[in-house]
Amino acid sequence: MEIIIYGIVNSLTLILMSIGFALAYGVSRIPNFAHGALFILTGYLTWLLRFRMDMPYGLAILLSLIIVAIIGVALYQIILIRVRGMPISEIIASFGVGLAILEFLRWSGLKGTAHMLPPFMSGSMLIFDVPLDYQRIIVVLGGVSVLLFLWFFTTYTKPGLSLKAIAQNERAGLVLGIDSDIAATLAVAIGAVFAGIAAIILLPLGNIVVEMGYEVLVFAIAVSVCGGLGSWKGAVIASFLIGFAQTITVSLVAPHYHFVTALFIIIMVLIFKPSGLFGRQKELEERV
C-alpha cells in the first residue's frame, strides 16, 4: 500500500516537473533547456516576494507566475525565435539562458539552506493506514489538475487546438491562418508557467537550492525522452513508469539507487523502442 501511494505521489511529482518541458517541445520543437532554471526562479521569486516584501503568500505566487510567463515570452521572442529550426543551437541558447539564470541566482545570494517556502497546509492524514502529509496530497491534486487543464485546453479551445496543429504540421497550420510564432510563444510561456506551478507545489517539500534546477531539467528530459519526445501522453506514462520504479527501488533496495533506476528504465525503453514509448511511429507516416 505504501508503495502504491508513494508511487503515485512520486509519479505526479515527475509529471509536474516535466510536463512544461514536454509541452514546449511538443509544440514548437524547441527543447527548452532553461526549464529547470525557470523552476527555481519561480520558487526564489515567490520567496523574495513573500519574505522580503512581505506580500501575502497567494499574491506572491500569482505575481511570480506572471513574471515567469513574461520571461517565457521574452525567452522565445528575443532569443529562441532566431535559432528556431536548428536543434543544436536551440539547446545551446536555452541552456545558456538557464545557466545564466541559475548562476545569477547563486551569485545574488541563493545558497545554503536558508530559503524555504512554507507548505500550503501543514499536518498529515492517514490514507489506507499510510501517513501522508497534506503537501504531498496537494502534489497529487496539483498534478492531476495540471493534466486535466492541459487535456481540456488542447481538446476544446482554439489556442490549444492551434498548438496541436503546429506541432504536427507547421505549414498546414500556417495556411489555415495559425501564426506559428504566436503558437510557439504561447507554448514556451505555458511551459514556463507549468515549471513555475511545479516549483510552488514541490518546493515546500524541501529547500530552494540552485542544484534542484539542474535536477529538474535532468528529470524533465529523462521523462520526455522515455515517453517519446513531443508526446505529452508519453510523458505521463513515462512519469508513472519511472515514478513507481523509483519508489519500489527506494523501499526494497536502498534510497540512493533511485537515480540509477530512472536511468536504467530510460536505457531499456530506448533499446526496445528507440523513439520512446509514444514517439512518432513509422506506421503513422503519410500514406500516398
Partner: protein, 256 residues
C-alpha cells in the same frame, strides 16, 4: 480596365522566383476571375507547387527556414494582387485571415488528430456559427467522413484524406481556395468524385477555386480557364475547351 480588376480576385504580375540561382517561376502573369475555377497544369518541376506556395505565402516560411539553415537563398520579384491589395510580402497566416486558403500538396492532414479534430482546427479563423454551418456542409459534401469522425487522420485512405483536407480548408472560410494537386495518386473513380465535389463547392458556395494538376483530364470538365506551365513559364492559356483542342496539349497533359 478598372471594371476588369474587380472581377479578378487574384492577379499575378511578372512573377519571378529563384531558388539560389535556379529560376523556378519565370515571368508568370495570370488572372483568376471571381467565382470561377482556374486550372494550372504542368509536369513535375514545371513550377506548379512553387507558384501555389508563392500565392499562399508559404514561400516566406520556406525562405526564412532556409536562411536560418544557411541553405538556398529563395527570392522573388513581381506582384501578387488579391482583391486589389498587394500581398506579395504578406505572412501566410495573414493571407489566410483575408480568405486566401491553401489545401497543400499531398493533403498534409494532421495525422495524429482525429478527423473531427482536423476539421475543428480548420475552423481556427471561423466564428462559432460559421464553423457549425460549414461543418454541416462538409459532412453533406463528403458523407464518407461521417463514420470516420473519430479515426486518426493518419489512418484514413488517400481519398478520404483528400476529402478531409478540402473540408478542413473550407472550414477556414475561404474566398479563394487554392488546391495543390488535389487528385494526386487517387483512383480514377475517386478522381471523378472529387472533381464533382470541387465543382459543387464552387457553385454552391461561390468560392473561387485555383487548382493545379499534372494530369488534366479529370478536372477538364470543371475548369473555366486554364494555364499550362512549362519550366516555370506559361506556355499556353485559354478556356478549358481551347486547351482541350490544342494538339500540343492533348498528348502532353491530357493523356490522349
Amino acid at each position: 480596365m478598372s471594371s476588369n480588376n474587380t472581377q479578378n480576385i487574384l492577379e499575378v504580375r511578372d512573377l519571378l522566383v529563384y531558388y539560389e540561382n535556379a529560376i523556378a517561376i519565370n515571368n508568370v502573369s495570370l488572372k483568376c476571375r471571381k467565382g470561377k475555377i482556374t486550372g494550372i497544369f504542368g509536369a513535375n518541376s514545371a513550377g506548379k507547387s512553387t507558384l501555389m506556395h508563392t500565392i499562399s505565402g508559404l514561400i516566406m516560411d520556406m525562405r526564412d527556414k532556409e536562411k536560418k539553415k544557411g541553405g538556398e537563398r529563395i527570392t522573388w520579384f513581381g506582384e501578387i494582387n488579391y482583391n486589389g491589395e498587394n500581398i506579395t510580402n504578406m505572412k501566410p497566416s495573414d493571407r489566410a485571415r483575408k480568405g486566401l486558403i491553401l489545401s497543400p500538396e499531398r493533403r498534409q492532414v494532421f495525422p495524429e488528430s482525429s478527423t473531427m479534430e482536423n476539421i475543428k482546427i480548420g475552423g481556427y479563423l471561423a466564428t462559432r456559427e460559421q464553423a457549425k454551418k460549414t461543418m454541416d456542409y462538409v459532412f453533406k459534401l463528403f458523407p464518407e467522413l461521417i463514420n470516420l469522425k473519430h479515426r486518426e487522420a493518419g489512418f484514413l485512405s488517400g481519398g478520404e484524406q483528400q476529402m478531409l483536407a478540402i473540408g478542413r480548408a473550407l472550414m477556414a472560410q475561404p474566398k479563394l481556395l487554392l488546391l495543390d494537386e488535389p487528385l494526386l495518386g487517387l483512383a480514377p473513380s475517386i478522381e471523378t468524385r472529387l472533381a464533382q465535389a470541387i465543382k459543387a463547392i464552387n457553385t454552391e458556395t461561390g468560392v473561387t477555386v485555383v487548382l493545379s494538376e499534372q494530369y488534366a483530364r479529370p478536372v477538364f470538365p470543371i475548369i473555366d480557364y486554364g494555364y499550362v506551365l512549362e519550366n516555370g513559364s506559361i506556355v499556353l492559356e485559354g478556356s478549358g475547351e481551347e486547351l482541350m483542342n490544342n494538339p500540343d496539349v492533348l498528348g502532353a497533359y491530357f493523356g490522349m
